[in-house]
């Protein structure tokens, strides 16, 4: 089929005047549901939650008792039969093999040694699902990494993994950055964690663990956290001129440009052509890289 036989688009889309801002309302598949909770595992919040749940349970039981007393008094006054006394509800037991690993007190020596050496820079230590977690203040991360690498009692030789998570609903911080360290000689794993607000540049781990190089570049690419004193803080997976950071929670799953097409309806490829034309006019992904 030649180009002339294809139907031409009825109207040419016009390029908007200002910078390109996507109308989320016009495209329901690009709407983002922002998380409302902050799922940051922590022994302190877990204990507070357990306490609050127990208090709520107790309050409910007291209310049931009080209701029973009033109902009893009312029945007595009216000369009717007294109501049955209430039974305290027992939490329902699920018939399955799930045993959720809750956060527990830190028992491991490594965590206590870290706390002893770093003092007030350690914000929290706990264990969960057999994994050790140590949360340090965001300014002290390089010191903590150096201690883990060089201390003979700790001796974590390898930085196995480093990644970050976006918490838009949190107050006081926006990201958590986690470092998974492995000690090959002692067969141990440790997780270091820092909480980082928007715009803060944590110190790069490359000076202590050279393997952090690409992982930090990936974190910058995907979540937009820039690391200070990194040898090469550029994007790694996306092109240099890509806009936005895809793993943030406010980034839509469906991408820009020609992917905004209902392919099932687009038998002749006409919609795709229009979208490509539109993308060209808007200059999507054709811009020069911006200096940041």
């Amino acid at each position: 089929m030649s180009d002339e036989t294809l139907p031409q688009p009825s109207e040419t889309p016009e390029a908007p005047a200002g910078p390109y801002v996507y109308d989320y309302a016009a495209s329901p598949q690009r709407q983002v549901v922002m998380p409302k909770t902050v799922p940051l595992p922590s022994l302190r919040t877990y204990e507070a939650e357990v306490k609050a749940a127990a208090a709520a349970d107790e309050a409910k039981w007291q209310k049931m008792l009080a209701d029973f007393e009033t109902a009893k008094a009312k029945a007595e006054a009216e000369g009717k039969e007294a109501p049955k006394p209430p039974v305290r509800p027992v939490p329902r037991k699920d018939d399955n093999d799930l045993k959720t690993p809750w956060p527990q007190e830190a028992k491991d020596d490594d965590l206590h040694r870290l706390q002893e050496r770093l003092g007030g820079k350690v914000e929290e230590i706990f264990e969960q699902a057999g994994e050790l977690t140590c949360q340090v203040s965001k300014e002290a991360i390089l010191e903590a990494l150096q201690l883990c690498r060089q201390d003979i009692a700790l001796n974590y030789e390898m930085l196995a993994d480093q990644t970050a998570t976006h918490y838009p609903a949190a107050t006081g911080f926006a990201f958590s950055v986690v470092y998974h360290l492995t000690s090959i000689s002692r067969r141990k794993r440790l997780r270091l964690r820092i909480l980082v607000p928007e715009g803060f540049s944590p110190e790069s781990a490359c000076a202590v663990y050279p393997s952090a190089n690409w992982m930090e570049r990936e974190i910058y690419d995907m979540l937009g956290i820039r690391f200070a004193n990194h040898p090469d803080m550029t994007r790694i997976l996306c092109p240099e001129d890509w806009e936005g950071h895809p793993l943030r929670k406010d980034y839509p799953v469906v991408g820009w440009g020609q992917r905004d097409i209902a392919f099932r309806e687009d038998r002749g490829g006409m919609l795709e052509r229009i979208a490509l034309q539109k993308a060209g006019q808007l200059g999507i992904n054709l811009k020069q890289p911006k200096a940041e």
């Binding site: 799922p39 595992p41 093999d97 799930l98 699902a129 196995a160 663990y209």
Partner: protein, 366 residues
């Protein structure tokens, strides 16, 4: 007459020896590489983002498509990370079947590595032999779960189905002939003069550099570090298995070849033990239809054929989707060592360096 100039060339992204769409920017002084910079991302699909917007169960099909040569190993890491997150104990029979399939997958992955690596360096024959045995393993995958490459073999909590009838016969047949096949490959390569010239002393990486760069898998073991997650942090049924961790000290391409060949022997040993000691019983834990997470984070690492594959999951209270799904891909981290291995060497040897790292761009770019 002779200019002392450096030349910059691109290897890839469409180059047959880069195993996909890897682009390496090289600066050459004559034939010597003075600067090497790998550039990745041509196959980026946003697996992590997609998995965060799907339920815990649905993430598995994406793990198949990361490292498509070792899909079962990716599935195993994914399943165990989820089980750690929810606190599920998997029945023992399921553990054994998982271990066995994982070792078969290691064989398949190493065979495809051997085939393509030899092909890159110039030994065509091994390719044909290795693919013959790999075909048998893919047939077994098909018998077990219906698909050959992207297996989606496991479920959270165990397996969907038990082994099909007649599977044992396939395994026995394979194990009976596999040692002689390994000998066949070794006869073709071990004393091959061209192979030895292209591999001995090429792309060296010392143990200190390897640990500093986070290298895992056969590349680390060929530098003399006996770090194998199956031994160091046992998972599945590996604690009950009797096997060795082969190591070498030469830390060059030839040593990595020998380590992988020895690993294949050990895999065959593990499969034999799984078949002999296969326990009876159920293959699936008792789970609710919908899994709802609690606030929890786990990092679970397993030994994939290429190195340590780790899954980092964060659960949100009452949500059926992972809040954060991150994969520590072994190829991604291992590829960081390419400049160290290639710089100072000849341009022809970078093909050997890429091959010996055993990269799959699907998992590097995710």
């Amino acid at each position: 007459m002779f200019k002392n100039e450096e030349m910059e060339i691109n290897l890839g992204p469409q180059h047959p020896s880069t195993h996909g769409v890897l682009r390496v920017k090289l600066r050459l002084d004559g034939e010597t590489i003075t600067h090497c910079r790998p550039m990745i991302g041509y196959l980026h699909r946003g697996v992590e983002k997609i998995c965060e917007n799907q339920t815990f169960f649905q993430g598995q099909v994406w793990t198949d498509r990361m490292d498509y040569c070792s899909a079962v190993a990716n599935n195993l890491g994914w399943a165990e990370a989820n089980e750690k997150l929810f606190g599920i104990t998997v029945p023992r029979r399921a553990q054994y079947i998982r271990t066995m399939l994982n070792e078969f997958n290691r064989l398949a992955s190493h065979l495809i590595w051997l085939a393509t690596h030899a092909l890159d360096i110039g030994a065509m024959t091994v390719f044909l032999y290795a693919f013959r045995e790999r075909e048998d393993i893919l047939d077994m995958n098909e018998a077990f779960c219906g698909s050959r490459l992207t297996t989606t073999a496991f479920r959270i909590g165990g397996l969907r189905e038990d082994l099909p009838p007649g599977f044992e016969k396939l395994v026995k047949k394979f194990l009976a002939k596999f040692p002689s096949c390994l000998e066949e490959y070794e006869n073709l390569l071990n004393e091959n003069r061209i192979w030895k010239k292209r591999t001995i002393g090429v792309a060296k990486l010392s143990a200190e550099d390897a640990i500093a760069l986070g290298i895992t898998g056969p590349v680390l073991r060929a530098a003399g570090v006996p770090y194998d997650i199956r031994k160091a942090f046992p998972y599945a049924a590996y604690a009950e298995m009797n096997f060795d961790v082969p190591t070498r000290t030469e830390a060059d391409t030839y040593a990595r070849y020998l380590v992988r060949m020895d690993e294949m022997r050990q895999s065959a040993r593990i499969i034999q033990q799984c078949m002999d000691g296969m326990p009876e019983g159920p293959v699936m834990a008792k789970l609710p239809k919908i899994l709802k997470a609690e606030v929890n984070e786990v990092y679970h690492a397993t030994e994939a054929p290429k190195g340590e594959i780790g899954y980092y999951l964060v659960g949100e209270k009452g949500s059926g989707n992972p809040y954060r799904f991150h994969v520590r891909a072994p190829g991604f981290i291992n590829l960081q060592a390419l400049p160290k291995m290639a710089e100072g060497g000849l341009i022809a040897d970078i093909v050997a360096a890429i091959g010996t790292l055993d990269i799959v761009l699907g998992e590097i770019d995710r």
